[in-house]
C-alpha cells in the first residue's frame, strides 16, 4: 500500500464572492521512502497541496489518504496529534524558534510534542545534528548562524520525531544555489539513512535534477509525473 494516495482532489478557496480553484482534480500515489518534488510556477498550487498532505488543511472534495488515514476525517486536535507523530516540516523561511538554541530547536518536538525521556532526547538530537553537520554549533541561537545552517537545523528538527514523511515547502527558495544543493543533498542522505519519505516543492528547475519523482503542477492541475534518479530525467 502506498504512503499517500490522492484521488480527485479539489481545493477551492472562497473569500467573499471570489473563488480560487487552487487544485483541480489531482490524482497521485506516493510510495514510502520516495524522494519527491512538486514543481511549478508561483501560484500553481504547490503550497496548497503540501498543506493538504501535511494535514494542515482539508480538500474541498476528493479522497486523500496519508499513512492509511483519511485526512478529512481528522479533527483539529487529531490532526495536530497526527502531525506530531507522523510528519516533519521544513519551511521556506526556516522558522526556527528564535529564543531557543540550535540544540533546543531540534529537541523541541521531542519535548513538547512527543515527550521523550532526557537521555533518549539528547542521543537523538546529537546524532541528527552530527548528520547535518551542525554538532559544533549546538549552543548558538538562530540569529547567529547562516541561512544554510538554519535549514540544516530545520532538517534535523523535522526528523527528530522519527516521522514517516517530511514535507518541505520551497526549502531552498531563500538559499543560494550552492547551499540549496547542499541542503537537498542532506535531505536525500537522510532519506537513505532513515527511509523517511521526503516531499518538497520548488519552482527552481535547477534543483529538480536531484529528485527521483517529479510532479509538475500548472494552475492547479497535475500535468506530468516524471521518474528520474540522481539528475537523470526520462
Amino acid at each position: 500500500m502506498s504512503l499517500i494516495s490522492a484521488v480527485d482532489i479539489n481545493k477551492i478557496y472562497r473569500s467573499g464572492d471570489i473563488e480560487v480553484h487552487a487544485l483541480k482534480s489531482v490524482d497521485f500515489e506516493i510510495e514510502s521512502g520516495s524522494f519527491i518534488s512538486f514543481i511549478g510556477p508561483s501560484g500553481s498550487g504547490k503550497t496548497t497541496l503540501l498543506n493538504l498532505i501535511g494535514c494542515l488543511d482539508k480538500p474541498t472534495s476528493g479522497k486523500l489518504e496519508v499513512a492509511g488515514i483519511l485526512t478529512s476525517d481528522l479533527s483539529r486536535r487529531e490532526a495536530a496529534f497526527f502531525r506530531g507523530e507522523n510528519l516533519g516540516f521544513i519551511f521556506q523561511d526556516f522558522n526556527l524558534i528564535p529564543v531557543l538554541t540550535v540544540y533546543e530547536n531540534v529537541e523541541y518536538p521531542l519535548l513538547l510534542v512527543q515527550n521523550l525521556p532526557q537521555k533518549e532526547r539528547s542521543d537523538r538530537v546529537y546524532s541528527l545534528l552530527e548528520k547535518v553537520g551542525m554538532k559544533d554549533q549546538v549552543d548558538k541561537y538562530p540569529d547567529q548562524i547562516s541561512g544554510g545552517q538554519k535549514q540544516r537545523v530545520a532538517v534535523a528538527r523535522a526528523l527528530v520525531s522519527k516521522p514517516r514523511l517530511v514535507l518541505a515547502d520551497e526549502p531552498t527558495a531563500n538559499l543560494d544555489s550552492k547551499t540549496a544543493f547542499m541542503v537537498i543533498d542532506i535531505m536525500r542522505q537522510m532519506r537513505d539513512d532513515y527511509g523517511v519519505t521526503f516531499i518538497f516543492s520548488t519552482h527552481d528547475p535547477k534543483i529538480v535534477g536531484e529528485v527521483e519523482t517529479l510532479f509538475t503542477l500548472v494552475d492547479g492541475v497535475l500535468v506530468s509525473t516524471k521518474k528520474g534518479k540522481g539528475g537523470q530525467n526520462d
Binding site: N51, G54, L56, D57, R76, R77, A80, F81, F82, R83, G84, E85, L87, F89, F91, D93, N95, I97, P98, V99, L100, Y108, P109, L111, L112, V113, R157, S161
Partner: protein, 412 residues
C-alpha cells in the same frame, strides 16, 4: 512544564525593554498600594488607639435611650443599681473583657468665685477608669497623676479660659434628677489635655463625690466603658456581650442595655472608613494598571509571533500547550512585577520608619507613623496581581491557541 517556563522567560528576555517597562509599571503600582496600605493602617491604628485609650474605651454600655439624648447628659436615663449589678455579673462571664469602668456623667456649673462656665463631669472610680482608659493619666498635663476624692481634673481649655491653676478652690454646682440644686467645693487636682472627639472637654472627679453632689442614694451609672484584651476581636466580643445582655428587659419588655463599639461613638470611624474605601479604590487602580499593561504586551507578543505560533502548531504542538506558553509569559510578568514591587515597598517602608514621619491629628501633634508591611497584605496583593496578569493574558493566549497553522504560517 519547566520547558514552557524556560521558553516564556526567554521570550521575556528577548523583548527586554518591553518586559522592563511592563514589570516596572506593575512594580510601581504594587509599591504604591503596599505603602499606602501600611501607612494608612498605621495612621488608623494610631488614631483609633488614641481615641479608645484616652476617652472612649473599646465598647460602651448605656441604658437604652441614653445615647439619643446624650447631649443633655440626662440623669433620668442612668442605669440603676440593679442594672449595674446585672452588668457586672455578665461581664464576669466574658474573660475577653479586660476591664470596665462605670461613669456618672452630668452637666454642671463650674465657678472659680469670679467667673463661671459650663462643664461636663465624669464621676469615676480612678482605678477602674485608668485600667480601662490607659492614656488618661498621661493626659494630665499638670498636677498629680491621680483622681482623688475632693479633687477635680479640669480640661485645659477651661483652665485657660477661667485662669484656674492647680490647687485653686472651685465650686461645682449641679442639678440632680429631682431638680434640686446642690454645690460642692473641689480643689483643682490636675489639668488634662483635650482630645479629639466627644468628651474632649470633660472634667473628672471621684465617683463618690459625684454621688454626693447628685445626692444619689445608690449608684446610678450613666455609662460603662469597656476595654477588651484583643482589639482585633472587637466585633466578636461585642456580639457576645450584646447577646448576653439582651436577655435583660424591663417591665414593658424593652431592652435595658444599649451596647456600642467605639465605631458608633466616634466620628473618626467615618474617616477611617473613608481611608478603607480609598484603599479599595487604589487596589482597583492597581488591578486596572496590571490588566491594561499586561493585556497590551501580550496582544503584541501574540501578534509578533504569529508565524512562530504557526510553526509550532504545524509541528504538532497541542493548542493547550500554546495557550500555556503565553499564559506562563503573562504570569511571569506578573510575578516579576510583584517581586520587584514588594522589594521596593519593603525598602520604602523601612526608610519611612528610619526617617520617622510625624503627623498631627486635630489637637494632638507629633504622632510618628510606623508603617509595617503585613504578610497578609503582601500575599493578598501579590495573588490579586498575579491572577489579574493571567486573566489579562487569557484573551491573547486563547487567540494564539486557536490560530489555524496554515493562516499563521502565511502571515508576514
Amino acid at each position: 512544564m519547566i520547558k514552557l517556563f524556560k521558553i516564556a522567560l526567554r521570550n521575556l528576555i528577548r523583548f527586554k525593554r518591553r518586559t522592563f517597562l511592563t514589570t516596572s509599571l506593575i512594580a510601581v503600582g504594587v509599591l504604591f498600594v503596599m505603602v499606602f496600605i501600611s501607612a494608612s493602617s498605621s495612621f488608623n491604628n494610631i488614631i483609633i488607639g488614641q481615641i479608645t485609650d484616652s476617652m472612649l474605651g473599646h465598647i460602651q454600655v448605656h441604658k437604652r435611650g441614653y445615647m439619643a439624648s446624650i447631649d443633655s447628659l440626662p440623669l433620668t436615663l442612668n442605669l440603676n443599681e440593679k442594672g449595674w449589678k446585672k452588668f457586672r455579673s455578665i461581664a464576669k462571664e466574658i474573660p475577653e473583657i479586660e476591664s470596665y469602668s462605670p461613669r456618672i456623667k452630668f452637666g454642671a456649673m463650674f465657678s472659680n468665685f469670679i467667673d463661671s462656665t459650663n462643664i461636663r463631669i465624669n464621676g469615676v472610680y480612678p482605678d477602674m477608669e485608668v485600667a480601662t482608659i490607659p492614656l488618661l493619666l498621661s493626659r494630665i498635663k499638670e498636677g498629680g497623676k491621680a483622681i482623688k476624692k475632693g479633687e477635680i481634673l479640669i480640661p485645659e481649655l477651661l483652665a485657660i479660659g477661667l485662669k484656674v491653676k492647680i490647687g485653686d478652690s472651685v465650686v461645682v454646682i449641679a442639678t440632680n434628677r429631682d431638680g434640686s440644686v446642690n454645690g460642692m467645693q473641689f480643689q483643682v487636682g490636675g489639668i488634662i489635655e483635650s482630645v479629639t472627639g466627644p468628651g474632649g472637654r470633660d472634667g473628672y472627679i471621684h465617683i463618690e463625690d459625684a454621688k454626693d453632689i447628685l445626692r444619689m442614694e445608690e449608684l446610678e451609672v450613666s455609662e460603662i466603658a469597656l476595654r477588651i484584651n484583643d482589639f482585633s476581636k472587637l466585633d466578636k466580643i461585642n456580639n457576645i456581650l450584646t447577646e448576653k445582655l439582651s436577655g435583660n428587659k424591663n417591665k414593658q419588655g424593652k431592652q435595658i442595655f444599649d451596647i456600642r463599639t467605639w465605631e458608633k461613638l466616634s466620628p473618626f470611624y467615618n474617616i477611617s472608613k473613608m481611608i478603607d474605601i480609598m484603599t479599595i479604590f487604589i487596589k482597583f487602580m492597581l488591578i486596572a494598571i496590571v490588566l491594561v499593561s499586561i493585556m497590551n504586551v501580550m496582544i503584541m507578543a501574540v501578534y509578533e509571533r504569529i508565524r512562530e505560533i504557526g510553526t509550532i502548531a504545524a509541528i504538532g504542538t497541542m493548542p493547550e500547550k500554546i495557550l500555556a506558553l503565553f499564559l506562563i509569559e503573562g504570569f511571569s510578568l506578573g510575578v516579576l512585577g510583584v517581586i520587584i514591587g514588594n522589594i521596593l515597598a519593603g525598602m520604602s517602608i523601612f526608610l519611612m520608619n528610619v526617617i520617622k514621619i510625624t503627623f498631627n491629628f486635630s489637637r494632638q501633634t507629633g504622632y510618628v507613623l510606623a508603617p509595617e508591611l503585613k504578610m497578609g497584605d503582601i500575599i493578598f496583593v501579590s495573588i490579586v496581581v498575579i491572577v489579574v496578569s493571567v486573566f489579562a493574558t487569557l484573551q491573547p493566549a486563547i487567540k494564539a491557541a486557536k490560530m489555524e497553522p496554515v493562516e499563521a504560517l502565511r502571515h508576514v
